[in-house]
């Protein structure tokens, strides 16, 4: 009971303009991993005393996005953290985010943040491949480990792959978009021109259709695909490298591979418009963009920091070790519904 009342109190204070200095309590909607959340918040509280954090953890950015939409008449959250920028930018377009250009964002490269300050990127996730080493060694021993996404089309993989459902998960869609940008880059190198996107799109659909023949299951969440590979139900799954490494550290017999060139996500943080404590939210965003927070997140979640001076986690792929596709985030977001419908038609 006191929680709801506290939220109202904070809202009133905010509106009367009494609490100008960052203090009080902030409510953080977090799509980060459960194992990251607590240590991360503790570090913030130590570093910025005076601001208390109430964490609403939900490791599903799509649900948090929907939640922020449904709460728009009386927003309860201050900060939306985690999940790739694709989940943040539509909220910005709908006017549900408070634009904020943090002074610390100066160190963040322009391709990792929104020009209007709706969201700021603070970590990177690289798309990799989870491989069940036991089963691969026993059942597919004549096969080379995949070094490019095309290697997954080999008929030996038939029924042994699982992929996060592109319609239901951000990762699955990024996988399709990665293929489009991969083919587009190839075509552009041959002859530059805007029409190359359309050609690349058809090639990517053709690729996804062929891949479909090898896929035993599309999963409803991205982590589920890694779990199935960990259990040995399937041998491989395209998925987030950092999550694969986290699962491996939990004792699963899996390895992270990085077929190239591959796609990546920009993990974002944003401030919710009309939230109870915007000043506290800004202080939190400022801290998230520090080197200290970046390094802690790398340690806790195996992700990469957008800051160049933060060292990567041991064994994790880096921007230098992995070749990335020229991923056009704006194009990918704007064409999402159309591409997904095209994909559904291609595989049915």
């Amino acid at each position: 009971m006191h929680l709801a009342a506290g939220g109202v109190g904070a809202a009133l204070v905010g509106r009367q303009g009494v609490a100008r200095a960052a203090s009080g309590k902030i409510s953080v909607y977090s799509a980060l991993n459960e194992s990251t959340n607590n240590a991360f918040v503790e570090a913030f509280k130590k570093s910025v005393p005076g601001i208390n954090v109430e964490l609403l953890p939900l490791a599903a950015a799509g649900e948090l996005q929907t939640r922020i939409r449904t709460e728009k008449d009386s927003p309860k959250g201050d900060v939306f953290i985690g999940g790739s920028s694709e989940f943040h930018s539509p909220l910005g377009t709908e006017g549900l985010l408070l634009p904020y250009k943090s002074p610390s964002a100066a160190n963040v490269g322009p391709i990792y943040k929104d020009p209007d300050g709706m969201w700021t990127g603070w970590y990177l996730g690289i798309f990799g491949f989870a491989l069940n080493t036991d089963r691969f060694a026993k059942e597919l021993k004549d096969l080379k480990k995949p070094v490019s996404w095309d290697d997954l089309l080999n008929a030996a993989w038939k029924g042994h792959l699982t992929l996060p459902d592109p319609v239901k998960t951000g990762g699955g869609y990024i996988y399709i978009a990665t293929q489009i940008f991969r083919f587009a880059a190839e075509a552009m190198a041959a002859s530059p021109g805007a029409e190359q996107y359309a050609i690349a799109e058809d090639k990517a659909m053709d690729y996804m259709k062929k891949l479909h023949a090898n896929i035993g299951q599309y999963t409803g969440t991205a982590p589920q695909a890694i779990q199935l590979v960990g259990q040995g139900q399937f041998i491989g799954a395209p998925n987030w490298s950092h999550d694969i490494l986290t699962a491996k550290s939990q004792g699963q017999t899996i390895d992270n591979l990085n077929p190239q060139p591959t796609g990546f996500e920009v993990g974002a943080v944003s401030i919710i418009q009309g939230g109870p404590n915007p000043d506290g939210a800004k202080a939190f965003v400022d801290w998230v963009l520090t080197k200290e927070a970046g390094a802690l997140n790398v340690k806790l979640s195996n992700r990469l920091s957008v800051l160049k001076d933060v060292a990567p986690a041991p064994g994790a792929p880096t921007l230098d070790s992995v070749q990335l596709v020229p991923y056009d985030r704006v194009w990918a977001t704007n064409n999402k519904a159309r591409i997904l419908k095209k994909w559904q038609a291609a595989i049915s």
Binding site: M1, H2, L3, A4, A5, G7, V8, A11, S27, N33, E34, S35, E54, L55, L56, P57, L58, A59, A60, G62, E63, T66, R67, T70, E71, D73, S74, K76, R135, G159, D165, V167, K168, T169, Y173, G216, Q217, Y218, G220, T221, P223, Q224, I226, Q227, L228, G230, Q231, G232, Q233, D243, T246, A247, Q250, G251, Q252, T253, K336, A337, L340, Q344
Partner: protein, 539 residues
């Protein structure tokens, strides 16, 4: 109608009940249904992406409902009629499938019966593709038979043994009695069970999402539209479609039930025992129940083992470390118990009262209320949650405690099953019983409280038990409502699963199921005592 109006207390009760249904069932759903607007609906239906999921939904509904109701009937018959051993144990098994927190139990099925499952592959050397129509059919049959079992068992237990004895004395054999007396008299129960099971299968999201593979049904399509396309409008259109299908089923049920009387309790309690069930039938019943129990014990056993070893299935070294997560997140477990328990009691009482008002009193619009009381079953949990979040997350309602709102959502989401049990129960009790009380001067509400309510004790129990179990295991309704202080156990499980912490997730699941089973046992002990006392005082 005029008679009703003469009783102010009754009119007031009616208005309050209708007001509550309007505010907590209709209003939040309108917020969802109206999202697309007319143009949105037109566009959605023209695109025809819904055709295939619709056909899939219809197909799986027919298949799973048929098998689940059949299994439920056999189970109910075995529990009520046969004198097989281990009934207390089977009673618990009959509710266990409902005690399935999302993700974990479906994952357990895959661990056992998947392409490299413990049973399918290591034991039988098969690598089946369970992810699809076949696997979904099997899992849903087990997941939804408890609804059918509970409703049918409730009806069978109230049937009058003297009718069966009479048939027996007139020369009918065991099969003849079953075919001409038992089966026809269980028709309201069967109809209610079929209706409820079909609706729950149709709105099921969790199983199709995890076991269904490429077999997309309407609820998984709706979810995909929300999370993949951000298309709340299209998803709302799918939800509306599910509601319409539920209405069609409702009409079908009215046809099925017909206009006959199913009264089996006509005043004098019958002290006569039931005619004995042939031995072979008893043993057949026992075998079916045992087989089902084995499957369920395996499924839940995997969870227990996972909670107690380092890393299932890679490392089987014993450990208790996963249970650290339970003590670290005791708040969510406590909240689940409080919200679920409160919701169960209120929902149980509310639905019995609602059943009485609809089945016994004559007033305009009772058919509409009858439909409204069914609707929450047809609404996928995610839309129920979205409806609540957008309807009640308003500035003028910010004083409302979030825990209370979560409890309210659990109450109204679970109305259908308790309500159906109450309706079916009332159909079996002769009107002359309560009318006698009224003609002797008692008010309607008094006749309900003193005469009918005690007789509906088992229907109340069905409502309470089902609501509790479903409230404890729901994720989708709560996901848009919980706050840091009002988080619940299913949220914790979801978090741990998504963090690849299978050990922690299963340990938490074991704690939730353990707690729920303890509560159920307490409920059954209390209600058993109560029923005994009732019988003693009435005879």
């Amino acid at each position: 109608m005029r008679k009703t109006l003469r009783e102010p207390a009754l009119v007031l009760t009616l208005m309050v009940v209708i007001g509550l249904l309007g505010f907590f069932v209709i209003y939040p759903q309108l917020r969802v249904v109206l999202v697309p607007g007319l143009a949105g609906y037109v566009e959605f239906f023209r695109e025809q992406t819904w055709v295939k999921p619709l056909l899939h939904s219809l197909q799986i509904t027919v298949l799973s409902t048929t098998t689940a109701v059949t299994l439920g009937f056999v189970y109910a018959y075995a529990m009520v009629y046969s004198d097989m051993p281990w009934k207390r144990f089977f009673r618990l098994v009959g509710i266990l499938p409902l005690l399935s927190p999302p993700f974990v139990v479906a994952a357990s099925y895959i661990l056992l019966f998947g392409p490299r499952g413990v049973i399918s592959y290591r034991l039988l050397g098969q690598s089946p593709n369970v992810l699809g129509l076949g696997g979904l059919w099997g899992v849903q049959t087990i997941a939804f038979f408890p609804f059918a079992y509970q409703l049918i068992a409730d009806v069978l237990s109230r049937s009058d043994p003297s009718l069966e004895q009479a048939a027996r004395n007139l020369g009918a054999g065991a099969w003849g009695v079953f075919r001409t007396v038992t089966l026809p008299l269980s028709r309201p129960g069967l109809a209610a069970a079929t209706l409820m099971t079909a609706i729950y299968v149709m709105e099921d999201f969790g199983n199709p999402a995890l076991i269904g593979g490429q077999f997309t049904v309407l609820p998984t399509q709706a979810y995909g539209l929300i999370s993949g396309f951000g298309d709340l409008a299209g998803a709302a259109a799918v939800s509306t479609m599910l509601t319409v299908l539920a209405l069609l089923l409702y009409i079908g049920r009215m046809r099925l039930e017909g206009n006959r009387s199913y009264v089996t309790i006509a005043g004098r309690a019958s002290a006569m025992p039931r005619p004995p069930v042939p031995r072979q039938v008893t043993w057949a019943c026992f075998s079916v129940c045992l087989l089902l129990s084995l499957v369920l014990l395996l499924v839940f056993g995997v969870l227990l083992v996972s909670a107690l070893v380092q890393a299932f299935p890679a490392n089987f070294a014993f450990t208790l470390r996963h249970f650290d997560y339970v003590s670290a997140r005791a708040l969510s477990l406590r909240n689940t118990l409080i919200y679920g328990g409160t919701a169960a009691i209120i929902c149980g009482l509310f639905t019995v009262l609602l059943g009485y008002l609809v089945q016994r009193r004559e007033w305009a619009g009772r058919r509409i209320v009858d439909v409204v009381a069914l609707l929450p079953a047809a609404i996928p949990g995610i839309f129920f949650g979205i409806g609540y979040a957008s309807a009640f997350n308003q500035r003028w309602l910010d004083w409302l405690d979030r825990g209370a709102l979560i409890t309210i959502s659990m109450i109204f989401w679970n109305i259908p099953i308790g309500y159906q049990a109450a309706i079916v129960g009332l159909q079996q009790i002769d009107r002359s019983i309560d009318e006698a009380a009224i003609s002797l001067g008692a008010s309607s509400l008094r006749s309900f409280r003193d005469i009918l309510f005690p007789m509906l004790h088992s229907a109340l129990l069905v409502g309470i038990v089902t609501t509790f179990v479903r409230a404890v295991t729901t994720l989708s309704v709560v996901i848009f409502l919980f706050t840091p202080g009002t988080t619940v156990a299913t949220i914790t499980i979801f978090q741990l699963i998504n963090d690849f912490n299978w050990g922690g997730a299963t340990a938490f699941t074991v704690a939730v199921i353990g707690m729920a089973v303890a509560v159920l046992v307490i409920i059954w002990v209390i209600s058993g005592r109560w029923a005994t006392v009732q019988n003693m005082t009435s005879s």
